[in-house]
């Protein structure tokens, strides 16, 4: 079992279980439901939310692979590192970058290391090579100029993207950085894991 950054969880689930109450989060399960469907062999992350009884506590159930990405000690501020996740298929190319400032979902001692998918969530434009160190942004997309804020879970700064840039969920184990999941649908796919 691995620990999730509670801030990421808050960002995803809402700070007081808002998302669950809104009924929009499909992959949230109550602990009871989870227990009933146990037997999954993939990574499972349990998230406790204060003030909720255990049976209501949602869990993020992920079937994503746990993949080694880089050494923490090798990362330098504003020098992006490219990798593929969650598979080696189309649109899997992603960016790992140490922003040098605290960021939503950031890991490492300064909570400033984040990773995102490289494909624009508007019309699939490639964002490789568009990292803007001064603004901690990706873009503008060469197709229609969308820009994304990497300090804020990949929300678009300006432009036309239909959703935030999918954020790769990271965790640190000693000096190793692992990718363990994704938030948001990757462009081109109908399901992150099925293509």
């Amino acid at each position: 079992m691995s620990e999730l950054d509670p801030k990421i969880v808050a960002a995803i689930n809402g700070e007081n279980g808002e998302a669950q109450k809104a009924g929009t989060r499909k992959c949230l399960m109550s602990r009871r439901q989870f227990l009933l469907t146990s037997g999954l062999t993939t990574t499972v992350v349990m998230v406790g939310i204060p003030g909720m009884s255990e049976a209501e506590t949602p869990a993020v159930v992920s079937t994503y692979p746990r993949k080694f990405i880089a050494k923490l000690s090798d990362l330098k501020t504003d020098e992006p590192f490219d990798f593929e996740y969650p598979d080696e298929g189309q649109f899997a190319e992603s960016i790992l970058v140490k922003l040098g400032q605290k960021a939503g979902g950031g890991i490492g001692p300064d909570q400033d290391i984040v990773a995102f998918n490289y494909t624009c969530t508007h019309q699939g434009g490639p964002l490789q090579g568009t990292y803007q160190a001064a603004d901690k942004a990706l873009g503008p997309c060469p197709l229609h100029l969308t820009t994304f804020d990497l300090t804020r879970h990949g929300i678009f700064i300006a432009g036309q993207a239909y959703q935030s840039l999918p954020q790769v969920l990271l965790e640190v184990d000693g000096d190793d950085v692992y990718a363990v999941g994704m938030f948001g649908l990757i462009y081109g796919r109908f399901d992150n894991l099925q293509g």
């Binding site: 939503g104 019309q123 699939g124 804020r152 948001g184 081109g188 099925q194």
Partner: protein, 891 residues
């Protein structure tokens, strides 16, 4: 309201091969991109698969860039014939025009989120008529609500006169609805207390264009792309006409088009233009006119004007005075020319006037506008300097609200003259027009009774009533509000709201009964006592007009809930078919109006469906830029309904005015004022109408009027208003992500996450002086918001000039304040605070002066001043979940 909370999804259902496919167009901005709705039943779990032969797109997943990808925001579940259905709504990948290959903005791209689904934040759609009893809006039957509305309506008309019945309505909400509304309000009620959502008076938005003879929407989208030089005033089309920019203008700039922006704020489109050799005339608010005239001056001083064009297409003295169509008599512009302020004897006379004005000297204009004077010279060169081979650059001019809502008459007069001088107006790639805001869904079912208006300006004609001033004076006893906030959408909105409060909820006559007759009697008593009763017709309960002030609420249906017709910014007419069930008892506006009209005893409202309405209305489109009467003729010939015939054009539509050729086929109109167009030699045979605007300009002679644009008609207001000690300009505009879609965006979790509250962009120098950082809550306030108070009869030429109004006691200074989240950015002019135009909870309009442009009667919404002070930190400053404070002008 339910939690508008964005949660990223990681999968989406695919439409199966046999999904229903419905062609439609976007509900939002003027561009109206083509869309396809894929619909299939939830029952049976019969979704499509990732192989090409398993889904409705015939594509393997993952799809390629620009392919038919479905973002989770593009899927929803609706009721269709009472059964739950999946809908996937994506831009039409087969579109040939407007958004070729199926591009879209974030707004239209996420349009699937607008449809009613009680599991989403759309659950607060209005579902039943409501009547306020005991201070609470209570659900009632249609008959109960309409009986009250009809009896009180007739009573007010009889007892207090037709002008006591005010109608404030959207102008764009589909032709079926606007036809019914105007047939009722203008044709039958016949009130002069009538106007549209964006102006206090039913007047032209662009008086200078009208006088020059330009239609607002003459150009085609190809024309903007074909220009060598494109001047864009008061708008960044990337933010507000996205696909017009990304699919038409952006490729042109990449191919060498010289782009000139005139805006006080940089954004994505300006950044792209500057990176590719374009320029930004970064003026301070309200100073467009001197800069435009200075560019014109440089052009004529160098002799770069298009002499051949001017010789052939500009009216001389006798021509500009001729006729009763658009001469000096009996026309909307007649009084404007009475005093010789605008009219010229032709090009040479205009040139003489231009050269005599000190504010047209480039150095002087640059000083007023606070820009680099060299930019004026460069703009003049780009727009008009003949090339080495002697040919002229093809120059086009686009204007929009930042421009014509700053100095409405002056700016539009000045730009028309500049356009004429550079030969813009009637040739491919050489056009002048508006970029547009909302789509064009107006169809008049009645004429405005101008002579009933109390507005009388110096000269001989009346002007359409200023409905806000009339309301403020307490004359409006019944306010029938259709699809607009009224209050927040007008200037000086907080004092307007205070008056609404006084007229409605603070009137002693409040309904404290459940008995229909007692309710009627109470509302009559309120009207008799000088108060106001309010009917509100909308899709959501709007605060405050519906939530607080309405006595009756009628739930309306909208996009996708009935079959409608509308045109876009190049007059492209499309069908917007019904594809799902409206929530509860919600009905289309035409139906609501028809039932009310019948109960009030008016005749001619026996329509069975929306097609009946548009078929009746078709002949009223004749002579307009949307003329589609011949589509009806063709439909009847072919035994089809008008809706069926329009549907055959799919997302490509057909551009109005539509002509019928001799073989019975239909031909659209690519551009208006098309001096290169050859009309059929057989003439306007059968039902065809060859309006002058097809091949000529909208004047008596068909040539343009080149007019003067005096700065001093506006400068007294500008000088009085401009920031004093501690103040900055407070202006407003649109933001890409919520523009023409604000009513839905409050319910779209992703957009709410991006823009949870109103915000203000301020320059680092302003921020530093006040200790403000990005993410701080600031108070934006003013104690000198001018409000024009009285309806006066103009006698002297200067009676309506701001200085005279002030001197004669017709200006009251009011206070207002709104809260915003600070965004510190060098993208704005140093002395400018820029806010979202219509954030309904904290409207920037609260700070703009409620003083109409005294020539036209429009508000100059963009003109406001105020102070800014820090209140503390907003939650967005330290949270990472919402907003972004990064620059929007990254290139």
């Amino acid at each position: 309201m339910s939690t508008p909370y964005y949660v990223p999804e990681e999968s989406v259902p695919l439409p199966p091969v046999d999904a229903d496919v419905i062609s439609t167009a976007c509900d939002y901005c003027i561009v109206a991109c083509g869309y396809k709705v894929y619909r299939w039943p939830v029952r049976g779990g019969h979704n499509g698969g990732p192989m090409a032969d398993q889904n409705a797109f015939g594509e393997d997943f993952p799809v390629n860039p620009l392919g038919p990808w479905i973002a989770p925001n593009q899927h929803n579940i609706v009721l269709h014939n009472g059964e739950p259905h999946h809908v996937v709504i994506i831009p039409d990948k087969d579109a040939e025009f407007v958004n070729p290959m199926g591009n879209s903005s974030i707004r239209g791209g996420a349009i699937a989120q607008k449809v009613y689904n009680p599991q989403t934040p759309t659950r607060d759609r209005l579902k039943s008529p409501m009547v306020r009893m005991f201070g609470v809006l209570m659900p009632v039957t249609w008959d109960f609500a309409l009986d009250i509305a009809a009896e009180v309506g007739n009573y007010v008309l009889r007892k207090h006169g037709t002008n006591a019945y005010g109608v404030k309505t959207f102008s764009y909400g589909y032709m079926e609805n606007t036809y019914a509304i105007t047939k009722y309000a203008l044709g039958n009620v016949n009130t002069a207390n009538f106007t549209f959502h964006d102006t206090p008076s039913d007047v032209t938005s662009t008086p200078g264009f009208r006088d020059a003879g330009f239609d607002n929407f003459g150009p085609s989208y190809d024309d903007w792309a074909e220009a060598d030089t494109l001047m864009m005033c008061g708008t960044d089309p990337y933010e507000t006409k996205t696909i017009l920019f990304t699919d038409h203008i952006m490729p042109a700039i990449q191919n060498g088009q010289k782009a000139i922006f005139m805006v006080p704020r940089r954004s994505t489109g300006t950044a792209f233009a500057e990176k590719n050799g374009g320029m930004v005339l970064d003026i301070q608010p309200g100073t467009d006119l001197p800069v435009v005239l200075a560019i014109a001056r440089v052009i004529v001083e160098n002799g770069w004007q298009d002499d051949e064009w001017i010789e052939k297409w500009v009216n001389n003295k006798w021509e500009s005075s001729s006729g009763f169509g658009q001469g000096t008599r009996n026309t909307p512009w007649q009084w404007r020319t009475t005093w010789g302020k605008f009219q010229t004897k032709g090009f040479e006379d205009w040139k003489e006037w231009l050269l005599a004005q000190d504010y047209s000297v480039p150095e002087k204009a640059a000083e007023i506008a606070q820009i680099d004077v060299q930019k004026i010279y460069t703009a003049a060169e780009w727009m008009a300097k003949p090339k080495a081979d002697g040919t002229r650059p093809k120059t086009s001019i686009m204007i929009e609200k930042g421009f014509y809502w700053s100095n409405n008459t002056g700016n539009t007069q000045a730009i028309s003259a500049l356009g004429i001088a550079v030969g813009a107006g009637g040739r491919p790639g050489q056009v002048i027009g508006r970029a547009g805001g909302h789509q064009r869904g107006g169809l008049r079912g009645g004429g405005y009774p101008r002579n009933k208006s109390p507005e009388k300006l110096p000269g001989r004609r009346r002007r359409a009533m200023d409905t806000d001033r009339y309301f403020m004076a307490g004359h409006t006893r019944l306010a029938h509000v259709i699809g607009t906030t009224w209050v927040q959408a007008m200037c000086g909105s907080q004092s307007l709201q205070a008056k609404f409060e006084e007229q409605t909820v603070r009137n002693p006559h409040q309904v404290m009964s459940f008995d229909k007759q007692e309710i009627i009697d109470t509302l009559k008593a309120r009207a008799d006592s000088g108060g106001t009763v309010v009917w509100d017709q909308d899709i959501y309960l709007v605060d405050p007009i519906g939530a607080r002030y309405a006595d009756i609420v009628f739930p309306a249906s909208g996009w996708g809930e009935d079959t409608f017709t509308r045109a876009n910014g190049e007059r492209r007419l499309r069908l917007y078919p019904k594809f799902y069930d409206a929530p509860g008892e919600a009905k289309p506006d035409w139906w609501i109006i028809a039932q009310l009209s019948k109960k009030m005893g008016f005749e001619g409202f026996d329509w069975k469906n929306s097609n009946d309405v548009i078929e009746e209305g078709a002949r009223h489109s004749r002579g307009s830029r949307k003329d589609f009467n011949m589509v009806l003729v063709a439909a009847r010939r072919e035994g089809k309904t008008l809706h069926e015939k329009l549907g055959e054009f799919g997302t490509n539509g057909i551009q109005g005015p539509v002509l019928m050729l001799e073989d019975g086929s239909l031909e659209g109109t690519k551009r208006l004022h098309d001096t290169t167009r050859k009309l059929p030699e057989t003439g306007p045979s059968a039902g065809n109408m060859f309006n002058k605007k097809l091949t000529h300009f909208n004047t008596q002679t068909g040539k343009c009027n080149i007019q003067k644009a005096p700065w001093d008609l506006f400068s007294s207001y500008w000088e009085w208003l401009k920031p004093r000690e501690g103040e900055i300009w407070i202006s407003s505009g649109r933001i890409n992500e919520r523009w023409q879609s604000g009513y839905d965006d409050r319910r779209r979790p992703y957009i709410v996450q991006r823009w949870p509250e109103n915000w203000i962009e301020i320059h680092p120098s302003v921020a530093e002086a006040r200790g403000i950082e990005s993410g701080d809550y600031v108070q934006v306030y003013s104690d000198r918001i001018p409000v024009q108070t009285d309806t006066i009869v103009g006698v002297e030429g200067s009676d309506f000039d701001f200085d005279s109004l002030l001197k004669n006691g017709h200006i009251e200074l009011t206070k207002a304040s709104i809260t915003a989240v600070a965004i510190v950015t060098p993208a704005v002019k140093e002395n400018l605070g820029y806010m979202d135009f219509l954030h309904t909870s904290q409207p920037a309009n609260a700070l703009s002066g409620r003083v109409v442009d005294w020539i036209s009667g429009n508000y100059n919404y963009k003109m406001g001043v105020g102070m800014v002070r820090k209140m503390g930190e907003s939650p967005y400053k330290s949270q990472f979940r919402s907003m972004s404070f990064a620059r929007r002008d990254i290139a």
